[in-house]
Amino acid sequence: MSSDAANKTGEMEALLREFLAIQRGGGNITVEEFAVRHPGQADEIREYFPTMVLLELAKPRAEDWNQTPTPQDEQDPTTPEVLDDYRLVREIGRGGMGVVYEAEQISLRRRVAIKILPNAILSSESAVARFQRESTAAAILHHTHIVPVFGTGHSRGWHYYVMQLIDGRGLDTVVRELKHSQDLKSGVLDLLANMDGSSSSKSSNQRAFCHFVARIGQQAAEALQFAHDHGVLHRDIKPSNLLLDESGELWITDFGLAKLDDEHDLTRTGDFVGTVRYVAPESIAGRADSRSDVYALGLTLYELLALRPGIVGDRQSELLQNALHPSVTPLRQIARELPTDLCTIIQKAITPLPGDRYETAGQLAEDLQRFRRDEPIRARPLSPIGRLVRWQRRHRGLAASIATVAVLLVMMTAGAFTAAIYFGSLNRRLENTVASLDLARSQAESRSLENRQLAEQADGARELSDRTSYRAQVALAYNRLASGDAPGAIDALNRALPVGGQPDRRDWEWFYLKRWYEGSGVKLERPGSFSGAVDYSPDGRHVVAAWMIDSSRDSAKEELRCDVLLHDASSGLVVERLCSVDRPIDALAFDPSGQQIAVAAQRRDIRIFDVASKEWLASMARPNEQGLVVRRMRFNPDGDQLLAMWKRERLGPIQAGTALLYSCRDGKTLLATPAKNADFTADGRSLLSVSRNARNVELTDLATWQSNPWLPESVYGGGIWGITASTDGSIVAAASTDKVLVWDMKSKVQIARLLIGHRAANITISKDGRLITVSGFSNNVQIWDVARRRKITTLLGTSVMRTTSFSPDGDWIVAEDAEGDLHRFSTRQAASGLTWETRSMSQTSSMSLSTEDRLIHAVDTDTVETWDSQSQRRLRKTKINTSTDAIWPRFDMALSSDGSQVAAPMSADASRVGIFDTTTGEVVGLLTGHRGRVVHVDVDQSGRRMMTVSADAGLHHVRLWDAQAFAKIRDFEPIHELVAATISPDGQLIAVADSGNKLIVWRADSGDRISTIDHPGGITCLQFDHRGERLAASRRDDGEVHAWDLRKGESLFQRSGLQTPCGLAWSPSGRRLAVAAQETVHVLDASDGEQLIALKKNVRAAGTLGYTACVIFSEDGLRIVANAARGEICVWDANTISGTGFQPVMPNVHPKIP
């Protein structure tokens, strides 16, 4: 660059600065005035400045940054001006397949149209090759109604396609214009009528228009036939690809381009929205032929006549579904005045099934010509029989949809629960399929009116589609909850509600998911971005949070504002704006009365805000040290002192800081002590602080100001980062390197070591000292149960090291999620289920629930334990003198349904069965006289009848007992190698499975064999339903569950693919079957065995040794209880937790058997 030029730009820069300075300083100066002021550079100023001013004017403002703009069309617009021999003149259109320019062919000085293809489409070599092959094929099509292709080219990375330039418009434009302007319409009609050589009177307009449509339709169909004869399919016929030139002639353009996109998913981009509308169903399935082009042309003509698309839908999935299962409103219903014959022709062209359409485009052309000549057309309206046939075919499509859902559901259960991406795509596919099912159902409904025969089929189809749709919604809700999408989940649950006269399909799984949703937290209204400060009000009704507000919309000046807002805790809505600060707020704390709030804003003193008067009260000076922010604040119980932990403003490792204690009366600093962290003791009389070297905890008496080590240094191990005391005075918790240590406050005895696995940055104790939340840097918030030293849950998506705050009752916690939203989570029903360790029970083999389903009884090898499922505390442990020698899984122990007694072989003599009292462990009765050792014991629901099986030299003896008189009722025929046995809940039936693949059902009273069923062998467990009408069997090694209808003597379903299924439980409603598998409890639809939900046990170690997977339903059908492999008890509850008074009522609960 010459120095002259450099000087010149330097000069210009200086002028630019001057001009902008004036403008920004509020001076109102125009470019012209400025130019006059600088006569030497006036020309340059006039040349450059207006453009610059425009850029300054149009530059995105603060408000623009903070909005999420709607995504725009994805097309790289930086195109060259010249491509080889062509100079681009102007853009004349664009679409999914590229941008069309008017261009000049330089050598021939002729005008052409050039279509530049998006690079994305020609991203692979094979795509380029195909493009060249296809466009070459298209170039050979010389037809009066096909836009001639001159050639293709490739230059500077651009692939293009040169065509004759047609002066005219696409039919899409024509439709749009006709639709929007009635005047225009009549004008066009006049024009068209003239063109057709007929009169232009108003009355004949419609007719003229129809004839016009028929004429261009015929031209297009002839052109298509010509192309088909030359082996070229168009594949993308749509209004925008049919051009109408100025003399009213039709031209088809873009031959051979659509195929380029074969490799692309039709649903991939928005570009295809327009195209999908015209694609034949078989094309979507990849089986396009010439009839697909006929279909697309038919829909194009339909749109021209109806002035609205045949296939509707705004959303892509919707559109795709509608295109796949077309249900086009008959033309005659839209416009009664249209000629019947023309409508019939169009309808025939757009029949969903290719076989029902015109076989060739030529036939369509011929019929259109016949219509124009008023000759009889060949197409016939479909007869009722035709419609029936069509319905059946449609029904097949429905069946296919249902099959799709079934496959998806199976895929979901195949253990692929890990990847969120997978969830996403699965959800989309489910959503799409659900959409098609909805459509199918509505079709089924409307069709059912046509006649009874159809109605019956439709009802069957509707039933099937409803049931499948319900399952899909449940699966969606589950997936969404699992991926943290609570609003999406409740939407899916709502969609599973019965509408109109539909049967209510909801059962356990729906209520369970509802409860999970309720526990997944309420999102607090988000007026800005969370600034990191939140606190629960002392009465638990409100949450106060600080939000950064973008105020630039209110005022011209872009300024920072942080609002302190009061939220209603249960709805999350903002109740009131308390105050605003002009900088981010780092910490907030309610005083014990809930009347005042301490507010710590960045680089500001702490101030106390009075909620009632809205006034700032005391102010508390920040420390002299620079760059400190308040990490947390706490009032003492009396509310007259405030403790603030000041730390360096820095993310990452925990910094040392200073604890300052202030008097709330005058704001004076009472104490300043260097500390890593500090907290009041429960009585507020002392201060616990962690020394800066993280080695010591000191206790400072706030009356005497004496400090002493609280515990000897050695107990803290690797260093302490944070400390906090529960307000009830019971415990003190400290965050250490990878664990949280908990001491009893009074005795200073360490009561828990919670291994959290990462460094805790922030710990909070619920006010009753029961729960501790732990949050760390980039780790989800964990909630731990202190007494049981186990993690209750991890709050998914809360990966921020930020404040958490408990409600006073400890039932709720507010935490920030990764999206920056604040959520209120329930700590009681955390996440999806409750699991606790029994420690003592590693070999549970029978379980029962009693006392209003609160107590869980479980029997281990030689003990019976009773647990309170609400507190998860063990109430009782009773030793029983049973045989410990058994084969696993073992079925020789049976608890009565109320848990009061357990029957099991005696330890001394396994041929005798003892009935033990589970409270005392005493033997209250003996069943004696068995031949050989007892290997199987079962009891009916009332506890009156029992069944035992003893093994003796390869033969198994089945015996029925009066369980109250301890007397034998009868023996049954001996079975060779019995593998499973059970008694029905009412004690009337006994079922056994032998190794010879026979399943035998006896009537208990008579000993008659009432049923013999062949089975595939390997049965592990048998279970009658509550009425004794159905029998389910698990086949552990084959991973299958079977069910039979005993009255009809036929199989109900056979479900495979389960992982070692063992215990079975029918729901009281009889509509669900729970299957206990290795790591999962599967809840199946009892009518067809389809899975509704899979409940994951919290299994830490897999293994089947000494493990009998059990599962039970509570009597009200609201809870499922199962055991996991290492002595854990898992409870999944469908009872409501929100306390709003809503109680789910399970449908058709079978009355308890007396």
């Binding site: 730009t9 149009a58 408000e63 872009e558």
Partner: protein, 219 residues
């Protein structure tokens, strides 16, 4: 913007303030770290908004990108103490740009070895015509935006789209990201005079495009 105050309501990031903080940093006072970064946070956010791929809109917030960049920055802050080849703001802008590229790669499976993009490290992802369009005309429904402005923006967007990438970039850097000529020169590795010349060249070509819309420049 030519002066150094972006007028965002935060403390004036005057050179004095920056120098003072840098001095503290050099003396080993790490608390200056965050303050330094905060000085430029609004501008960084703007840069991210301008260059974030439109496909990520609604999925990723600009603040998150800046926040992530801050984490990188805080790991490397002391590194800057020993550098004098690049102004501090441009250095954090570069870190933020790299973070954004990384996020693009992560979310859009953009080829990590795209040479063209590697070469752009100092600029960040390009302010493509599409991302500009999104920012310029994506919000025309905003009530606060007058119809006239919406029109100007639409015209400007289509005209910018016709420019070469280099031209669009330099205009975006200058007017939308509000970098000074000196800063731009530093990013692009040019002399001040060359950067300035390029800028005026771009302005001129934009003017040519705008002549297709009579009256637009008369305002």
């Amino acid at each position: 913007m030519m002066n150094t105050n972006p007028g965002n309501g935060l403390p004036d990031p005057s050179e004095d303030r920056e120098r003072h903080l840098l001095d503290r940093l050099r003396r080993g006072d790490e608390t200056a770290n965050a303050e330094l970064f905060m000085l430029y946070r609004p501008r960084l956010k703007r840069m991210v908004a301008l260059r974030m791929d439109r496909r990520l809109l609604g999925r990723i917030d600009e603040s998150d990108v800046v926040q992530e960049a801050f984490l990188d920055y805080s790991k490397r802050a002391t590194e800057y103490v020993h550098r004098d080849d690049i102004p501090f703001f441009l250095w954090v802008r570069m870190i933020t740009g790299q973070k954004l590229l990384e996020i693009h790669r992560r979310h859009l499976a953009v080829q990590a070895r795209d040479v063209r993009r590697e070469a752009r490290l100092h600029v960040g992802p390009e302010a493509s015509a599409v991302s500009l369009a999104t920012r310029l005309v994506g919000n025309f429904t905003t009530a606060s935006t007058a119809a006239r402005l919406a029109e100007v923006r639409a015209i400007l967007q289509s005209s910018l789209a016709k420019l070469r990438e280099e031209d669009r970039e330099i205009l975006a850097l200058r007017h939308f990201e509000e970098l000074t000529n000196h800063e731009i020169a530093s990013i692009l590795g040019l002399s001040d005079a060359t950067a300035s010349a390029r800028y005026f060249g771009a302005l001129k070509r934009l003017r040519t495009e705008l002549t297709a819309f009579p009256g637009i420049l008369d305002a």
